[in-house]
């Protein structure tokens, strides 16, 4: 598979109050975007458990986007502040493990910023297309060696 043909699978967790509205507006405004993104609407970016991101990667996502309201605009006052801290720690870990930082993005897009949403998605898809599929978390069934830790080779 060449990189031109590679269609990345991207999971986007987006907050109900800002980014989802932005995505909605982008759709209504007919802004062109690559169709590789699976949007998951959540009530607040603060609801995103880091394990959801890890799970998304291990279940085959090539990139994950978490997007919420701008700092100070959270519908629940402080949800995105908590989200920012824990998700960026997660990003540091994932980057350290060798997952390119482009594959995990945390952004803040307000309900009016449909064009920002369009740009973020386009950039994300383009950069991941260049990187190719994620190889870090191989899907269980494709693992040839089923005997972890006992026999090498």
């Amino acid at each position: 598979m060449t990189t031109e043909e590679f269609q990345p699978k991207i999971v986007a967790f987006i907050c109900n109050w800002c980014t989802y509205a932005a995505a909605d507006l982008a759709g209504v405004s007919r802004l062109q975007m690559p169709p590789n993104v699976l949007n998951v609407r959540v009530m607040c970016s603060g609801r995103i458990n880091p394990m959801m991101v890890i799970r998304a990667f291990s279940q085959g996502a090539d990139a994950v986007l978490v997007s919420g309201c701008h700092m100070g605009d959270c519908h629940y006052i402080t949800g995105n502040y908590y989200a920012r801290r824990r998700l960026l720690v997660l990003k540091s870990i994932l980057t350290g493990l060798g997952i390119e930082p482009e594959r995990f993005r945390v952004t803040w897009i307000s309900a009016a910023e449909a064009q920002d949403y369009q740009r973020t998605i386009t950039e994300l898809v383009e950069s991941v297309r260049k990187l190719g599929p994620l190889t870090m978390f191989k899907e269980g069934e494709t693992v040839a060696r089923e005997s972890a830790g006992c026999v090498e080779g």
Binding site: G140, E146, S147, A148, C150, E152, G153
Partner: protein
């Protein structure tokens, strides 16, 4: 005759020339060690002992930590189709295991093949042979002579090797590795029983870390079931799986379903351990082994009593891994001795 004298190089050459056979040898001692394939850059072990014993036991070769049992797919109208897994594996020879690891296959065979065989283990075991080696160096935690084995015992081995200078004496014990045996036998010098016993006698040293004979203590262990000592024994246990996952004979397993999506997935067998609190936990929250003292009791008695009652030999092979690698210094030999009134 079933004993020959050859050079270690002849053995190495024979194993390398067998072609479609996977040969596994210990890669090194301690935590970093495991059993690895005999590659071109790897030398066949010439001796064995505590200094060549890896922390990982060889049971994973025939009893993998993670093995698919079946795949399923469901139809939208409730149809089910199930495909059993192919448990077969390439012919594998394990070479150079010390008697404790070799004997582990006797215990595993008894536990997993008797009555109804465990399908995954049975299929892999069919294509698996063990070339055991007499042990030349005891370690600080070894207790093989306490559990009815010795540094030269041949339990579990298909072929046994006794290093003697640059030569090795090779003893055929079962017909399982006859292909290898035929290659070795061609032109080799046969050895008398007398010579074998005089070489084997060199390996007859007594392992004296723990002064007890397990078989004599079985009765005392049975009486000690409700002893308050279990609480003291397990007080600092952290309920991790080291003692059981590293044990060459522990074979308890879990069966889990792993859905790939809503309509398909696989059923997988993984190692499990009696030390995890949820091991016997029922959905109703009833758990017969809620306390860690009861879980440690299960581990010790399973090895030294229940398996002995059911199969006539100790399940512990005396490798000492559980003592050495226990993060909180829980010593199974000490426990058995205290319960048995030896100490």
């Amino acid at each position: 005759m079933s004993v020959i004298r050859i050079t270690a190089d002849t053995m190495e050459q024979a194993l390398r020339e067998m072609g479609d056979v996977r040969v596994l040898v210990p890669s090194g001692a301690g935590r970093k060690g495991t059993y690895v394939e005999l590659g071109p850059d790897k030398k066949l072990p010439r001796e064995c002992g505590d200094h060549t014993k890896p922390s990982s036991p060889p049971k994973g070769i025939v009893f993998p930590n993670n093995e698919r049992l079946l795949s399923y797919s469901l139809g939208v109208k409730g149809e089910i189709s199930v495909k059993g897994a192919d448990h077969s594996q390439k012919m594998t020879i394990l070479y150079g295991t010390p008697p404790c690891d070799t004997a582990s296959f006797r215990a595993l065979d008894a536990a997993l093949l008797k009555d109804i065989p465990e399908p995954g283990y049975a299929r892999k075991r069919d294509n698996f042979g063990v070339v055991g080696m007499a042990c030349g160096r005891q370690g600080r935690w070894c207790l093989c002579t306490s559990v009815g084995l010795s540094p030269r015992s041949t339990e579990g081995a298909d072929i046994m090797v006794f290093p003697d200078g640059g030569d090795i004496l090779v003893q055929r014990l079962t017909g399982k590795l006859d292909r290898l045996w035929k290659i070795l036998e061609a032109g080799a010098k046969t050895v008398s029983d007398h010579e074998l016993s005089s070489v084997a006698h060199k390996y007859d040293f007594k392992v004296e870390n723990f002064a007890f004979t397990a078989e004599k203590l079985a009765g005392a262990l049975e009486k000690g079931f409700e002893s308050p000592y279990w609480k003291e024994f397990s007080e600092r246990c952290v309920s991790c799986g080291i003692c059981t996952f590293l044990c060459p004979t522990c074979h308890c397993f879990d069966i889990i379903d792993v859905p790939a999506d809503e309509l398909s997935g696989r059923r997988v067998r993984t190692w499990d351990t009696c030390q995890f609190p949820e091991f016997t936990g029922e959905t109703s929250a009833h758990n017969p082994r809620k306390e860690k003292s009861t879980r440690q009791r299960q581990r010790v008695l399973h090895k030294f009593l229940y398996h002995y009652q059911n199969h006539g030999h100790m399940m512990c092979t005396g490798c000492g891994r559980c003592i050495r690698y226990c993060p909180v210094d829980i010593n199974i030999a000490e426990g058995v001795m205290k319960l048995g009134g030896v100490k």
